[in-house]
Symmetry: C2
Subunit: 485 residues, 2 copies
């Protein structure tokens, strides 16, 4: 591909592209193949919808229209169209927006089911993740990223972290996460340690780790960076770092007895999925100018055997602590932090090669290409790049800015093409708390009504379709569709 | 006064009224006098506003109008009118709505300051309250009541509980409190015990107590009960009890290792301020039909000396556990719970007599008579009956029902009289958390904008005035006025 200035791009990790693909010794080839099958089968469900609808629209008002249309749907989408819609086609023509939206929601439900099966495998992996975390000195990891759909594969693909009770994930436009919410989560994690000794006892000295992920585009940094920060990478980094520091100092100041946490800042190149990790110093402090670039590491360690490469990565992490100038810090982070960073970098090497293998090094969709908008607690089981624009919100009043960004993206992606915006609202409940499911459904309906009021123009034009579902908070629980009113 | 059926009312605690006032041995006369001075001085600030404005309006367009008006204001309200408003009076006449609202907000600020001075005394009292609580086996009390203004004096007057870090207070129309919010509060209180050993260590076996307060009117039960439950006392009791049980079972089910809490249900007669306490059984379970009525206790123990009366109260609490029929439970609550109930009943005896002394036994304002609407975290330092209608809310989207109830009340109280609705939004921040004050101000401005949008008709008619303030969460901190945009 070309860079924004028209020159042919040089891949930052694998310079021999496009002629020759690279193969790094530390890459998990089997997992890459498995993930590629997942991504393509999930996306195929979504991406076949428009071609099938075009065929259906072209069928004309034949006698067996309904049967033919449903046959096409069954064959390509795996399910018939909802009853009644096709039958009314002879009056005003095929109701494409309704068929489109219902097909998107069916693809979503099928995708969640497919991933939920995967979850059982992940839960097994998670046990080794939990062990690694505690071993590295952490009893919880709370990751906040940007709501941008290009970050939607963060855990499953980019960082290769299995779903786990110790991992918490939320997204906000521009990574402007909710400090107060996270202080509550910190309290819950601490209490679990004290009451249950899980995953480590309170006297074990493990820490809570808060991670913020910002993003940039190496191919087109001025246009395809973080929209919430006008594609200004420095602003995106600074904003994420400022929230991290507010969180850390908030806990230190508001709680007595030496309450402290670790923080970590990660940058993502959304074109190559290569990450950059900012390495804390011995006090846990971060700098925008002290980081390890994983694309460089991939390139540098290419051709080494696994042991050599692993050693080189540990050395790179250790060496970055010695940088001077603006990036200067005071010493190295603790041993467990260095080990965790090494693990994340090694995991991400597989993802860099995944993009090389499957997309020639750079994703073809540089910018937005989300299939639907995800609102609420999100579909935690379904993590694939550019599948959805995800806005975590409890009320439209608080989340309006994030929603507006998403709607703006979808006006461009869908409405300008004549297709409606599919919005899937999903909230999780705790089946152990009496009445919680009922209260969550009321909350979902309140949020749906507020969305309908905010975008009443789109709604009345038939350009907005909502779908409501709840899920028990246990990972892998089935989606339960609920009425919106 | 008369009952709703026109018959003369018989006071449930002091039958000799109106001829003779009663004097109970356990009543704290000094404190009653102090509280009476507080109530009348606070309310006078508010209630002189309309008469002063009438005088100002009658002054006419004399040459020294501004000076005369400000002299009246200084003399009766303690402060001049805001600059510029009077000066423009010669154009369209006196802007009474603006003078009215600004005077209400000044009275509010002065009242908060007056009470904040009192807080320092209370903080000393709170230490003995904290000791009593821990002694009774509790490490935190979380009280939820109805938003109705007649309950606004709950802690300071009705239950005589000083402000304390161990007390948490929230109000919702119909006492429909937020179970999930309270589960978070439970976690915070537990964590404090584990981390700081405050106010009791984690192995001390103390408990978290959740209290719900419903209300009724003995004079006019069908019209002046809880509006959110159509003045149906049974519905009000049941709703509060259901939430209590959801809270209790939620914690038992969602947390392992024998997590448990105590619950308590209290009914208030808003005409006499006499309470009724539902006494738990040995399992902590409550019944709508097993309670101790404090008006009856007052009457029964009138004429006894302090020791006899105290003993009779303990006996009444013990005896109610033996009731059969619908109120039957399994045994007595634990000793500390009985002691806490006795303390609350004894405290409330003073309040019953306070209403007898100062208002002849029954409040003259049976129904609504709130002076302003309080939105957000409320003015915790300013607890006086019918001073404000208080809606605890973080977003208008979630709190719309409570807001609408308040606005309906004030349409009747103020707008029908041609006066605007004064709404004071107040949120507390934690000065220890960096950036929290700034985020809270943004939140306040968001809520203000949502209120203005919801009641745009009132706003454009000049019938809605908003006031914004924030306060550090430390009790007794000054109000800091903040701009609404
Ligand atoms: Zn972004
Ligand atoms: Zn949230
Ligand atoms: Zn009520
Ligand atoms: Zn709240």
């Amino acid at each position: 591909p070309q860079q924004a200035d028209g020159k042919p791009a040089v891949h930052p990790a694998c310079a021999s592209l496009p002629a020759h693909q690279c193969h790094h010794a530390l890459v998990n080839k089997t997992e890459n193949d498995r993930l590629a099958r997942f991504e393509s089968s999930i996306k195929r469900r979504f991406d076949e919808i428009v071609p099938v609808l075009k065929e259906v629209a072209a069928l004309g008002a034949s006698r067996d229209f309904t049967e033919q249309a449903n046959r096409l749907a069954e064959q390509h989408l795996g399910h018939p169209f909802p009853e009644g819609v096709l039958e009314r086609s002879w009056i005003h023509g095929v109701d494409v927006p309704t068929l489109y939206s219902s097909s998107i929601f069916s693809a979503l439900a099928a995708g969640v089911e497919q991933f939920s099966q995967r979850i059982h495998q992940e839960v097994a992996d998670a046990q080794s993740l939990d062990a690694l975390l505690v071993d590295c000195g952490f009893h919880a990891i709370n990751v906040s990223a940007c709501a941008d759909g290009r970050l939607k594969g963060l855990f499953t693909y980019i960082l290769r972290l299995p779903a786990s009770d110790l991992l918490r994930y939320s997204t906000f436009a521009g990574t402007l996460f909710d400090v107060e919410d996270d202080i509550l989560d910190w309290q819950a994690a601490e209490l679990r340690r004290f009451r249950e000794g899980y995953p480590s006892t309170s006297d074990s000295g493990t820490r809570y780790l808060k991670v913020a992920v910002y993003h940039r585009s190496s191919l087109d940094p001025m246009h395809q960076g973080c929209a919430a920060h006008q594609s200004n990478e420095k602003l995106a980094m600074e904003a994420a770092l400022e929230r991290l520091q507010q969180f850390r100092h908030g806990i230190e100041n508001a709680f007595c007895c030496g309450a402290s946490t670790d923080i970590l800042l990660i940058g993502l190149d959304t074109d190559t999925d290569a990450i950059r990790i900012h390495v804390p110093d011995s006090h846990g402090d971060l700098s925008l100018f002290r980081s390890v670039d994983n694309a460089e590491l991939y390139k540098k360690t290419l051709g080494m055997n696994a042991d050599q490469a692993r050693l080189a990565i540990y050395e790179a992490i250790a060496n970055v602590s010695d940088v001077g100038g603006w990036g200067q810090g005071d010493g190295k982070p603790h041993d467990g932090m260095r080990r965790l960073i090494a693990n994340l970098l090694i995991n991400n090497l597989s993802q860099i090669e995944y993009v090389i293998e499957n997309f020639g090094g750079w994703y073809p969709d540089r910018g937005h290409g989300e299939r639907f908008m995800s609102i609420g607690d999100g579909f935690q089981e379904l993590q694939v790049r550019n599948l959805s624009y995800y806005a975590h919100l409890d009320t439209v009043e608080e989340g309006a800015a994030d929603l507006d960004v998403g709607v703006k993206i979808f006006r461009h992606l869908n409405v300008e093409q004549g297709l409606p915006i599919p919005m899937a609202i999903n909230y999780r409940y705790d089946a152990n708390v009496p009445g919680h499911r009922e209260r969550i459904i009321i909350k979902l309906q309140r949020v749906a009504a507020a969305i309908q009021a905010r975008y009443s123009d789109l709604l009345s034009e038939g350009m907005l379709y909502l779908h409501g579902s709840v899920q028990n908070q246990k990972l892998g629980s089935p989606l339960e569709e609920v009425p919106l009113t």
